[in-house]
Symmetry: C3
Subunit: 175 residues, 3 copies
């Protein structure tokens, strides 16, 4: 496992149930820094509630939790500092929320990247890779994968480290 530098951005990509969040949490735990968890998910149905509760139970104590379903960049800027790590889980839920609210997704993505480029402490961002299946039938899903793919490219370019996680195993793509 690689260490986290401060300030530096780490992107953790992976599929559904790939173990990406658990890997990101181990990265943060291993750093020895204080820990802030920025949750982007909204518990709008029981399935989502159960997923959020699973993540909370696994993280255990010692984390401060901040909810940021839309204002992610502002939350990162407010929380990041040299002595603690901010873990964002996950970018794909944030993109979903932006799309559901009709926001300017490319504009918000660019603003997030600009925030990450001048952040005061280590930030770890978790996101789902969603572009490796058949082209989806509906426009909204195609737009979503375009937004996600573009954001991943921009954040990866700004990041010090990028991991791709499959079956709980990290593959280092950058850093």
């Amino acid at each position: 496992m690689s260490g986290l530098a401060s300030p530096a951005v780490t992107l953790v990509l992976g599929g559904a149930r790939s173990g990406k969040s658990a890997f990101a949490e181990r990265l943060v735990e291993a750093s020895g820094f204080a820990k802030v968890y920025i949750a982007t998910g909204r518990a709008f149905d029981p399935e989502m509630e159960a997923r959020i509760e699973d993540h909370r139970a696994r993280r255990g104590s010692g984390w401060r939790t901040v909810e940021a379903p839309l204002g992610l960049g502002a939350a990162i800027a407010a929380e990041a500092r040299a002595s603690r790590v901010v873990l964002v889980d996950c970018l794909t839920l944030w993109l979903t929320n932006l799309m559901l609210e009709g926001r300017d997704v490319p504009g918000e993505g660019a603003a997030l990247v600009a925030t990450l480029q001048r952040v005061a402490g280590p930030v770890v961002l978790v996101s789902n890779e969603v572009g490796l299946g058949i082209v989806p039938d509906n426009v909204m899903a195609r737009d979503f994968r375009d937004h996600a793919g573009r954001l991943h490219q921009q954040i990866a370019a700004a990041a010090a480290q990028v991991f791709f996680v499959a079956a709980g195993l990290p593959l280092k793509m950058k850093g």
Copy 2:
């Protein structure tokens, strides 16, 4: 190509038509051990029949074939021994069968992992990575990818080697 130790578990993950089965078969052939093929697929329609026949033709002679659409752990325990390799193709069809029969999938998965941890000979398991596309619309497909992802993580943790295959090319994730 890496060798197979005895006893040891190897997991071969890959997408549809990625060449994962052919790669796993080459691993087994290269070991020089006797060969047992555990088939989990059921020929419930002509498309599936054709896929099973393709695989059978490619494997050629020298393999003993055991069908285990549901009782996979028991079949592995019965077949594995120091002097031969057991190839399981594939975990995702086994999960599908369990779900269609209304079985306790997490319980059966945990029992399989326990069997693999005390197996008497080399075992190679092939499975489809299915979690890298857009979130599926229907609950059954979402449950399936959750089951598959969790099982892959558990088996990868117990495995000596894990490969990810794309375009017929293996990428070693562990071992």
Copy 3:
């Protein structure tokens, strides 16, 4: 970034919006050779038109563009020579066109691979990995991913270099 040899085939695989085309273009630019772009896409709707325009704008000047929605092998054979690079973007659109026209896709795929094995100059082929999501509901989509997966395996076997691109970052699978 790795260099392009002449003659030699390079395959660049990646998901939707993974940065695979931009990476392939950088490979070609870095080679210093003259540049030919073979476009397989047809602008049959405004969404597709916009994607084609995006790619054209990014490539900038210095490229000769050839359209080959169906006759890809012949176009490669006609254009390739020792002193210039042919970039094909992308194989998955070519497969789509073949399927829509009711062509013999495996036969056309085999002929393309034969062309690539005796090509006179460097060729870079871009393609979408589409087999890492849930099994699609409809037969056409399942056939498409079978055709794509088989073609990727055959081209990867013939290629000197294969890259898998995620979040704009190349992972070398071969070469």
